[in-house]
Each structure stands twice: as C-alpha cells, then as structure tokens.
C-alpha cells in the first residue's frame, strides 16, 4: 500500500527506480485517493485518469527498458485549471469557459509532459484567480483536507487540497497575489511564487499579467526544487520570461549550502494589527529556530506595506478587466442565441462571470477610465515603484525576509461572504510581493491543532536558490 498522502516526489523517484512500485501502481494509488476524497473535498474540475494510466504504463515499459528515473519522470500531478491543455477541458473555474476545450498546450504543461510527469486532472480555483479561498468557483467550493469545514486558501485551492490528500504528488498552481502561498499555508504545504518571468506564462489564462507567476505546490522544499528544475527558464512564446540555470535541487543539497547562514529580516509591519496571536506565536517560534541554527535575525521596516493592498488591487483589477475582454462568447466559450453581437456579449458575460469577477472587472474598468486613471491606475503604479524601492533597500540590509504567509488561520467556509473586503485583506502579506516581481515561498512553520501555519520567505529577484536553501534548513 502506497501512502500517497505523505509520499514525496523524491521518495517516489527512488521507489520507481528500485522497482518497489510501478508507475501504474503509483498512478492508481493517486486515482484511488482522488476517488475516495473528491465527494468531500472537490479539488478537481476535470480528471484525466485514462490518459494518466495510459501514460503510466508507457513509462513502466520505458523504465523496464532502462529509462532513467529522475525529476518528475513518472510522477502523477495535477494542474490548476488556469492552464490550457489541448483536447482537455480548461475552465479557469468559470461558467463562461465551462465547456471550453483548448486547441493548444500551456508551456508549463508541455514541459512537464515531455519530462514524463503524469497529469491526473485539472484543479478547482477561484474563477479566473479572483479570490483567496476557492469559494468563487463555478464548480463549487473546495474544502480544506486538514479541516473540511474550512477553506483551503486560494485561488489555487484545488491544487493545495489535491496535494494535501494525495491526489498527485505535486500540483502546478498560479500565483498572482498569494494564490500558491495561501493554499500552501492553509494546507500544510510548500508553495512557490517564483521571480516574475522565471516560468513561462504562455497558456496560463491570465488574471493580472504583470503579477501572474507559475509555480509548484509540493509537500517539501526538495520536491519544489525538483519541479522548478523542469519548468523554469526562458520561453520564446513569453516575452517577459527570463533565463534560468535550473539547478535548484543540486544547489540545496550542496554541503556549502547546508552550512550557509543568512541575515534574516523580520519586518515589524507584518506582526502588528490584524494578525492572529496564535499564528504570530508559531512564526516567532520558527524565527527562534532559525536563530538557534545560527542565522542572524534583524528587525526591519517595510513602511509602505500599508499601501500595498490598495495598489495591488488597483493595478491587478485594471489588468484583469482588460485580460477578460476577450471572453465575448463570439469565438469560443458560453454561447447564447441573439441576433445582435452587442447583446450577445452582454448576455454571455452577465451569465458567465461570478459576482466576484464582475466586481473586479467593474473596478478595473473604472480605475482605467479617462479622468480616473490618474487617481487610481497611475497612482498605484507610483506606489508600486515605492514598494520596489522599499524591498531593494531592505535587501541591502538582509538576505531574506521572513513573515507569516497568512495573518489568520483558514476561515470557515462562507465566513467572508458578506464582506469581500475582509477576504481581500487576508492577502495583505502575500500580495505586496507580486507587484515587485521578487520571489517568495511559503512553507509550514508549525501547526495549531489540525491546522497548519505557513511562513513566507521573500528574497531579491532570482534568489529562489537561497529561499529554497533556507527553507530546506528548516525542514531538515
């Protein structure tokens, strides 16, 4: 019996290589986990079990013929339903794309597929990434496997929940303002928000183009590096993508890395009002552990943090209002019978978007409108520059910044239904990172009862290796 709930990629690699399990058995174990959990959790929008088993048996054959087992080869995983997959329904959690079958593959899916990873299905999400709880999906809420009365975080909540219960050994989420880190924090996992552009966004249905990042949700730091080694790097179909040397796993396992000590900055502003005292305590204990390991803890200030949420939303919603323009029901997606194109667009969008998406489109349209753009969009861009400066200054003092990932424990489902703003504020610690472009990861810092508390490690541009290394030291 394979316990896919705790099995890591690293362990599965060894078992496959040593012929302790076959890829089909591993895949079937994940499928079993999905089948037994889904009625309660609802992490998947679409499953692709037939394709998965077919590929798994092909991989078993290749292993028998001596194919090297490394990286994600033979590893079952899931993809957030924001990534287009040729021939496989892709909804972005929305009604407007409820039956949309893409004609091409997202770059990240292509890379993983070519590296031998096995797709189990597409995971639930807040429609178009609009949410932090996975409650805003056309396909129903996803529940937190650690406590099913609570949300798993979002918007990549399906990805987090799936990995937490063993529906695949990792998932590819998409992080625009904390969408990988929040589910990682709430589900006891590792979530990566890479440097902007490090992983190609081609084929990722955009929320906010200048924030969107593609990254894994895994059980361990080690696993996260294995996935990053496959998916990072420049892509000729994403003009914003950047080069990467893809030796994350190698780096964190070097002796030099293990003994490396860092200056860790702890920003005062992230421990003030709004934080749950229990969460605060867990994070302080984690900081203490780092101090004991010999790292230097330095108190710092990030004074513009209080403007970050506002700036984040103004720019993000401006961009999303524009990105979603293409969903007009004319070439694909939800269709209605009318004899007038303007009416068609209106009806399709009225029916096809969730209330949260409509709220965000309306705000974003307003903040870009003539006469208001200066007050909102352009001003937020100025704040964005200040946020960049602020982090740049901080990284002259310290190597890495440590904060809680989420200020609170996962809310009970429905808790914020009447107060969307409160939900937005839940992102305060994660969403200031995306406008800056720098990388951040969330890893489990400790737990409170059944619930997990995540800590966030933030570094300068392209400092993933150091973040993984520091995280790895905590997990070792």
């Amino acid at each position: 019996m394979i316990d896919v709930k705790t099995l890591t990629i690293q362990e599965a690699n060894q078992m496959l290589a040593n012929n302790e399990i076959t890829c089909v058995e591993l895949t079937q174990a994940c499928i079993d986990a999905i089948e037994s959990n889904e009625s309660e959790i609802n992490a998947f929008v679409t499953t692709t079990f037939d394709l998965a088993l077919e590929k798994a048996s092909k991989i078993d054959q290749e292993i028998a013929e001596g194919h090297e087992v490394t990286g994600v080869y033979g590893i079952p995983y899931s993809l957030k339903d924001a990534y287009v997959t040729k021939g496989i329904k892709t909804t972005a959690g929305s009604k407007i794309l409820e039956n949309y079958v893409p004609a091409y593959d997202a770059a990240v899916y292509k890379k993983l597929d070519e590296a031998g990873a096995i797709l189990l299905g597409k995971t639930n999400m807040d429609s178009f990434g609009h949410g932090s709880s996975t409650e805003n999906s056309h396909f129903g809420v996803t529940c937190n496997p650690l406590d099913t009365s609570r949300v798993p975080g979002g918007s990549s909540g399906g990805s987090g929940a799936a990995v937490a219960y063993g529906g695949g050994l990792f998932s590819i989420g998409e992080d625009t303002g904390g969408s990988n880190r929040a589910p990682a924090s709430f589900c006891g996992l590792v979530g990566v928000k890479p440097t902007y552009g490090l992983v190609s966004r081609y084929g990722s249905i955009a929320y906010a183009s200048s924030y969107d990042t593609v990254g894994p949700i895994t059980k361990t730091i080690q696993d996260a590096t294995i996935v990053m080694d496959v998916i990072a790097g420049k892509d000729d179909y994403d003009a914003t993508s950047i080069e990467s040397d893809n030796d994350y796993e190698k780096f964190i396992n070097k002796e030099d890395s293990k003994s490396k000590r860092y200056k860790i900055g702890v920003p005062e502003e992230f421990f003030q009002e709004g934080i749950d005292p229990e969460v605060k305590k867990v994070i302080e204990d984690a900081i203490e552990k780092y101090r004991e390991l010999g790292h230097e803890i330095i108190d710092i200030n990030l004074p513009y943090t209080k403007y970050a949420v506002a700036a984040y939303y103004v720019i993000g919603l401006s961009e999303t209002s524009s990105n979603l323009n293409r969903l007009d029901g004319i070439r694909y997606g939800l269709d209605v019978e009318t004899d007038n194109w303007e009416e068609k667009i209106t009806q399709v969008r009225t029916e096809g978007f969730t209330p949260e998406t409509k709220r965000r489109i309306l705000i974003g349209t307003y903040t870009l409108s003539a006469g208001f753009a200066d007050q909102y969009y352009n001003k937020a861009q100025k704040v964005r520059e200040l946020l960049k400066d602020q982090f740049q200054n901080a990284f002259e003092q310290v190597d890495i910044i440590l904060t809680p990932t989420m200020p609170v424990l996962p809310p009970v489902i429905g808790e914020h239904d009447d107060d969307p703003l409160k939900m937005w504020l839940m992102d305060a610690y994660t969403c200031s990172i995306n406008p800056v472009g720098i990388p951040a990861i969330s890893l489990p810092a400790g737990s409170i009862g059944d619930l997990s508390v995540g800590m966030q490690l933030i570094g300068p541009m392209e400092s993933e290796k150091e973040l993984f290394n520091l995280g790895m030291q905590f997990q070792s």
């Binding site: 972005a92 004609a103 091409y104 966004r201 524009s322 323009n325 070439r331």
Partner: protein
C-alpha cells in the same frame, strides 16, 4: 480650378501594413492575401485564453527606419499599450498599440508633385500597432476572418498642415513612395495595405486659427477616392458655412467610390479606450548603435532624389517620372556619372521604358550598358535611330552596346572612300534625278539624292558631309 472661398484644413491618419514575413506579435505568416479564411492564425492572433504576444523586432526596426526617414525624433525607450474596445473582429477585446511613447514623433514629410508643388507637412507621430480581423457580411450573416488579425500596422498622424486637394494627393503619393523606397511596406492599395482617414474643416483664406469643428472620414482605401472625398467634403462643408452655420463635428463614412460621405457617429467627446501599458511586453529599448545602423540603412529619399535630379539639370517632369519608378531611377542612378545625364534621362523615360514595358528586362541585360550607349551617342557615333535599335537589342537580349552597334553596322562612318563609292552608286542608279538637278530643272533633286545616300549608308554618314560630297561629285 475656380477661385475658392475657403481654405481646406486637413490632417491625415494613414495606416500602412508592413511587409514583414510574420505578424506583429506571433509567428503566423503574413502571406494571407487571397487565402482561405482563418488559415493564417494561431492562439495569439485569435486571442485564445492564455496566449501571449511576442513582438516582431523586424517590424520595430522598420517603423524606426520610417520615423528617421520622416525626420522624426525616436523614443529609444518605448512601450506598447492596450487600447480597449469590443468588436467581433477584435480578437482580444483590445488592440495592442502605442499611446504614450510612440516609436516616432515630431517629424515631417517633404511633399512634391509634377506641377512644382513643394511643401513640408509636419508629422505628429508614427506608432506601431496590429491590425484587426475582418468581418465579412454575406446573406444577412456576418463571418469573421482572422487572417489579417495581428498584421503589423504603422499609424502615421500628420498635423493639420494640408490645405488643398493637390496637397492631399501629393502627401499620399510621397508617403507611399517613401515606404516603398524603405521597403517597409508594399503599400498595395488593392490589398488594403495603405488606408487613410481624413480630418477636415474649412476656414476663410487668410485665417490662421484652426476651425472650431472637424469632420472625420474613415476607411479610405485609395488615393483617387481620397481626392474625391476631400472635394465632396469641400462642397458639403462650404455650403453649410455659406449659410453661416457650422458643420457638425462627426465621423462620416463613404457612401460609394464617388467620395460622397454620410454621417456615422456624432462625436460628443472622444471614446474612452482605457489605455494602459501592455503588461505582456517588456519596454522596448533601442540602443544608440541600433539606431545608427538603422539610420545607415536608409536609402536616398524621394525628395532628395528629386532635388539631385533637378540640380543635374533635368526638368521637373522627367525628374518626377524617374523618382516615381524604381526601374527608371535605378537605371539612371547607376549610369548618370558615366555619361550625359540629360541624354540618359531622355533615353530612360523614352525608348528604354517603351521596350521594357513591352518585352520586360532580359536577364542578360546589363544596365550599365546604357551609359556606354549614351556615350556612343554623345560622341556622335550613333544617331538617334541607331540608339533605339541598340537599346531594344540590349533590353531584350543583353550584350554590349558597342558590339550591337558594330554587328548591325550602325556606327557613324567618316570613311570618305566608302561614302564616295555609295554616292557613285546612287548617281549611276538615279540618272533622271541627276539630270534634273544638273539641268536646273529641279534644284531640289539633290535632296532626294542625299536621302538615297543616307538610306544606302544606313544613316551612318554625317548629313552635312554627305551634302558636301555629293555636290562636289555632281
């Protein structure tokens, strides 16, 4: 043209489709003309979810070249912006364009024509954008074709410096010529590669200020229609002004190819396109070195050529004819230093054009032979009939001008003995004419005899010398 009461005040917006191999933001081929609808498309130009733009550097180099040719300042730090509006053939719900930092701004185009017009029209800006798809209306239905979607498009906006139909026409022609010289567009109007929008108003002559209204006419696909639109708008607007009324500020569309327009949309205030920087494309930085290398690639421009030709003494008519046509000006430019430019120009616009238009240029033809040919003519070795024969031979089957002249025995001769023997032959064969001349019955008979000698000698003898020699012989 009759005396006019009002002066036209015209600004143009011109869209020019570039001739790059691939589209502006994807790798689709641009060779879609006449092909099946929606066969030249991909996720990016179809605006599928998740697809991203990747800017075409060649198109960017092209617009910068055009900007430099239009004497524009170049934004070396530039970016793309999204222009949002919804329309069925606009696949993304926004057009990727440039708003704040166009690649080119503050330039001018030197315009001219055969009638001697010469004026400088200020260019406000030239920016890079992409074309939309095409809506095809048939049998009460609308079909969408996205082959054109994402085609690289340059938009050029002039200042309202154009004041007559003649100037509109000259501007359009000179701009077309400029992009053709640079090779950035084929500017083929039939294929919709160059389209115009007119912003026009009228004011009494002598008035400096801009009128407080303007009328926009969109989607004009040829220069002749452009001229007609301007004329018909003059008539329409002047009639309104004559009644002491002000024409409505509005957008008008073409009724048909006669240039008549009808109201489409009354512009109360400008549409809100909610421009913001395209987040999917990083800023475009053009280095000093890059700019220099583009500058160096720019050929002599139409007005510069015209000036050079007129300075060489060619008249305006011939100069503009040369400037208008690449085959002609190339033939001229290659040879003009090696022979008499005026004779060369006459040869090129005359017999040379006639022959290549009828037969095409042979692969064997060496254009530099035209200089040799003109030199033979200037040296008096060939008469004009012989030049025509040689040029026809050259163009149709190549070879050396001098060889052709020799082979066909066309070189002017000063061989007196040969001339004398021909004269003797003619005298012996034309007894009657000789008698008539000698007897004084018909003094003009000598002309006939000279003609016979010229004919017998294939025109290779100098006419004066023939006359002298024949008179002696008689």
């Amino acid at each position: 043209m009759s005396e006019r009461k009002y002066e036209m005040v015209i600004g143009l917006e011109v869209h020019i489709q570039q001739n790059t191999k691939s589209k502006m933001f994807c790798r689709c081929s641009t060779e879609y003309f006449g092909k099946e609808p929606n066969t030249h498309t991909c996720p990016t130009c179809l605006g599928l979810p998740g697809a991203l733009p990747y800017p075409n550097q060649k198109a960017i180099d092209n617009i910068i070249a055009l900007g430099l040719a239009l004497d524009c300042s170049i934004n070396q730090f530039s970016k793309f912006d999204r222009k949002s509006y919804m329309y069925p053939d606009l696949s993304k719900g926004f057009q990727t364009s440039q708003h704040e930092l166009p690649f080119c701004f503050d330039g001018k185009l030197e315009i001219f024509d055969k009638k001697g017009l010469r004026k400088s029209i200020r260019i406000n800006r030239a920016h890079q954008e992409e074309d939309t798809g095409k809506s095809v209306h048939k049998d009460d239905k609308t079909f969408l074709d996205f082959n054109k979607s994402g085609m690289p498009l340059i938009e050029i906006v002039t200042e309202p410096d154009i004041n007559s139909t003649q100037e509109v026409s000259a501007f359009a022609k000179c701009l077309k010529k400029t992009v053709e010289y640079l090779g950035v567009s084929d500017a083929n109007m039939e294929k919709g590669q160059m389209r115009f929008e007119v912003n026009m108003s009228l004011r009494p002559f002598g008035e400096e200020a801009l009128p407080d209204y303007k009328v926009e006419v969109k989607n004009i696909g040829s220069i002749s229609v452009l001229e007609k639109v301007v004329e018909s708008e003059y008539t329409r607007q002047s009639q309104i002004l004559d009644r002491n009324e002000v024409p409505v500020q509005e957008t008008r569309g073409l009724v048909n190819m006669t240039g008549l327009t009808q109201s489409q949309r009354v512009k109360e205030n400008s549409a809100d396109y909610r421009y913001f920087p395209e987040p999917d494309i990083p800023v475009i930085i053009t280095s000093d070195e890059k700019l220099k290398s583009i500058q160096e690639s720019i050929p002599e421009l139409p007005y510069q050529k015209l000036d050079r030709y007129t300075q060489l003494g060619l008249n305006l008519e011939i100069s503009t004819t040369l400037v208008d046509d690449e085959i002609k000006f190339q033939a001229f430019d290659i040879n003009s230093r090696d022979c008499d430019p005026k004779k060369l120009a006459n040869l090129i616009v005359g017999k040379y054009t006639q022959v290549y238009s009828e037969f095409g240029l042979s692969k064997e033809f060496e254009v530099s032979e035209l200089a040799s040919l003109v030199s033979l003519q200037t040296e008096g070795k060939l008469n004009s009939d012989a030049v025509d024969i040689v040029v026809e031979n050259l163009v149709r089957s190549g070879g050396k001008a001098e060889d052709i002249a020799q082979e066909n025995n066309l070189i002017m001769s000063d061989n007196t003995d040969e001339l004398k023997s021909i004269i003797e032959k003619v005298i012996s064969e034309n007894n009657k004419a000789v008698e008539d001349f000698k007897s004084g019955k018909n003094p003009n008979a000598v002309g006939f005899l000279i003609g016979q000698v010229m004919k017998e000698g294939k025109g290779r003898f100098d006419a004066t010398k023939v006359r002298e020699t024949i008179t002696q012989s008689l």
